[in-house]
């Protein structure tokens, strides 16, 4: 990955042009031709750096319900439980997390979205039944920042 690839990844994360030839428009911004940009983007997709280019739906504004959830999974059951959780259509993210500061009763953290609050409750209840574990939910009260754009060109940790 060279610096042009990093610039492409930075630029591609949001504001993908809504014009009939978006790669030509983006290429013009980046100072390269449409064909070169298409070739590089295809290579970045093949390398697995780009998962997809598409619309990122705001679950709440699209009328969906969502929550963060967590469970305390015994280590010997981790693979099986994580597999059950990931298999749920409602689950979008699922991570094993360990505390590096402080203590935490939960180790598996995941997010769910569903068509309605009732469907969300049902998805959580289904996972609790399927895993035999209690699932704690932590719905958001206020969202202060929902951007997910990362600069690859700069130090990502700089304040």
């Amino acid at each position: 990955m060279d610096s042009l690839d990093r610039s492409i990844l930075d630029r591609l994360q949001s504001g993908f042009p809504l014009v009939s030839r978006p790669f030509a428009a983006l290429g013009a911004e980046l100072g390269i031709g449409e064909a070169e940009l298409l070739g590089r983007v295809r290579a970045l997709c093949r390398a697995g750096l780009i998962r997809r280019i598409g619309p990122v739906v705001d679950p709440a504004k699209a009328g969906r319900a969502g929550t963060l959830a967590a469970a305390s999974v015994p280590p010997e059951r981790l693979e099986a439980v994580a597999g059950i959780v990931s298999a749920s259509q409602a689950v979008t993210h699922n991570y094993l997390r360990v505390p590096t500061h402080g203590a935490c009763p939960y180790n598996l953290w995941f997010t769910l979205t569903a068509e309605s609050p009732a469907a969300l409750r049902e998805a959580v209840a289904t996972l609790a039944r399927a895993t035999g574990l209690a699932i704690a939910t932590f719905p958001s009260v206020r969202k202060f920042k929902i951007g997910v754009r990362f600069s690859l060109a700069d130090d990502a940790a700089r304040g």
Binding site: C45, I53, V56, V57, D58, L96, K145
Partner: protein, 156 residues
């Protein structure tokens, strides 16, 4: 109940949500498939962006592969009246991608959540310490992501 996203908008998002084709005219192919003029599809998408139903149109990256290796979910326990100012401090950091207030429980009384990304665990730790310093809040738990079992996007 009427959902904010109407049927045509929903069909447009459904046709695009698994990814645009990496071709010169990716919208035209989808518009044909839906029996729409490309301009109508683009206008609809623009309107969904304007209403916030679509947050952005862009690439979803595999951050680990792209060199952003470490991800820490940091949670603070903060008095309710101080949440807003602490959140505004945390949100100013580029390394913070998400910052939410969430309801605490007796077992887990933490109420401010920040998702922190960096090249390393140490990078994330430095950001956390800076947030603690600037907010004066130090009752926190840092949760490092050690395995990613699933990472996808909301499909409608």
């Amino acid at each position: 109940m009427t959902l904010p996203v109407d049927d045509l908008d929903r069909r447009i998002v459904q046709a695009l949500q698994d990814g645009l084709a990496i071709t010169a005219e990716p919208y035209a192919a989808v518009a044909r498939q839906l029996g729409l003029a490309t301009e109508v599809l683009l206008e609809r998408l623009q309107a969904m962006l304007g209403r916030g139903e679509v947050r952005r149109i862009g690439a979803s990256l595999a951050h680990r592969k792209a060199g952003i290796q470490a991800n820490v979910m940091c949670v603070w326990r903060i008095p309710p009246e101080k949440v807003e100012s602490a959140a505004s401090v945390a949100s100013q950091f580029n390394a913070v991608s998400h910052c939410y207030e969430r309801a605490g429980t007796p077992d887990w009384p933490y109420n401010l959540y920040a998702m922190i990304h960096g090249q390393s665990e140490d990078d994330c730790g430095a950001v956390i310490r800076a947030i603690c310093e600037r907010t004066g809040q130090s009752d926190y738990v840092a949760l490092l992501s050690v395995r990613e079992f699933k990472k996808t996007w909301t499909r409608i």
